[in-house]
Amino acid sequence: MSGERILETRELSVHFGGLKAVDKVDMEVLRGRIHGIIGPNGAGKTTLFNALTGFLRPTGGRILFKGMDIAGFPSHRAAELGLCRSFQNIKLFKTMTAIENVRVGFHHHLRTTLADAVFRTRRFREEERLTRARGRELLETMGLSQYADFKAAKLPYGTQRRLEIARALASNPELLLLDEPAAGMNPAETAELSACIRRISAGGRTIVVIEHDMRLIMEICDRITVLNQGLKICEGDAETVRRDPGVIRAYLGRSAG
């Protein structure tokens, strides 16, 4: 597969004492693609995400984002660089409305200072208007328009997951990392999510998605990385992964292989 590598890990390791949660993983994500990460529970998928987004400092190895080594950067810098994530267990700002959640996502694009806010300067007013309008657009993209003024905690589960994606999109990331976006969704919600992810991808963003829902992964991903016990055991398109004996063994146990 050709194309520009937007994200690369080289021998990336995250160890917790003796536990090698992620062990020398090499991974390449190509720009504009949807890249899946799968693996049994405890394979190190979320740990890998945490390392990629600065929530964990890698024990070793490098993370190259657009050619720059970002390993160990503070997590808030990730969003500034164009890397934004969603969380496995939904982390919305619960008492804020849907639209306000999204508006927080614009944070690092705004220049409003304390003085701007106090004196309601033109910059303040323009940025407020902009985030409100752009926020509504994003809610619409994710099919959330009718929820704009409801508090996040009140929304149905699948809707909350989509709101998390809308919020992440507000930071205008080049690379969007989704951690189990379909967890707990029913088939109808999953189908809708799948369409959303495709739409985002069609808009030119690169997406990395961790997911247990194999149908979703096989359907939307151009390339899939399989982790097991911290090690990368396979990488390739859906067909390659499906047939790989190592993957089958990891999922079904040794006797099946």
């Binding site: 982390k91 619960k94 306000e100 944070h107 806010a117 099919g143 009718q146 149905p156």
Partner: protein
Amino acid sequence: MISRLARLAREERAALLALLGAALLAFPLGFRENNYLLRIAINIFLYAILATSLNLINGYSGQFNIGQAGFYCVGAYTAAILATRHGVGIWLALPLCGLAASAASLLLGIPTARLKGIFLAMSTLGFSEIIRLIVLNGGEFTRGPMGIPGIPPASLWGWELRTNFHMYYLALALAALTVLVSANVLDSRIGRAWIAIREDELAARAMGIPTVRYKIYNLAFSTFWAGVAGCYYAFLSNFISADSFHLDEGFVILGMVLVGGLGSLAGPLIGAAILVVIPEIFRFLAEYRLILYGVAILITMHLRPQGICGGGVMDIGDAGGVRDGEDPPDSGAEPAAGGEGA
């Protein structure tokens, strides 16, 4: 009933605010010579400033500060020293005292920005006591236990604000300024970042908010107003001493925020009014009046844990349109199929 009142307050907000403003402006005209009543009103405004400032931390960025009295003390002593030794008038002293309190807050905020919950609370408590002890043992500079007397009255272009009648209006103006400026900051990306930190610090970081910096920012902004309140207090009472800034003072301020409601603009104002007035009504109980603070907090926690105005009853910014009472479409028993997504 409270929710119905809240809806009324939301719908008729501008009219109610105008009415309240007019009432507050007119109130002293009838009681020009009644120093007792004027003093109570002044105390309400003074504590409204302090409670509003504390609420910016405990209610909006969700950190736990119980040592606001320390910053109040910094403001008061800065004012007293500037006024008695350097001839600085109240108008210049007000912002300087705010800045002094903010500067002091950095000494607390920078080393403790990564502490959470009870650990942060304990360090704010300790810091407040440290400030009081420094003032108490400050030798010539703070005059130790003797306090600083002889603070000249506030003056406005040569016109001295000597009476409680005049000081009432200054307190009202300062309280209004505190609330207004706070409301403007809260309804901006800065305020949203603070609330985001309160709601979920990890998610806030993932959205690109440098949370440590914003927590320090929040503390400095909050304590600015505590410093302003301290400055007003110094000019009001002409004499200050470390005795006025015990931890109890911090607890009283915290009590006002808890009773009034964390995370709402009206909450601390109502809390301040209630906790200033109640001890006055129960004056005959003498020393035991302090128990009333505890009782008031207990009653609130039991009947309405979020405080009188807490829980989004009177929110900021876009809240005018928040649909709080109703359920969103598609929620409930039926799983959301969502029409327009696919």
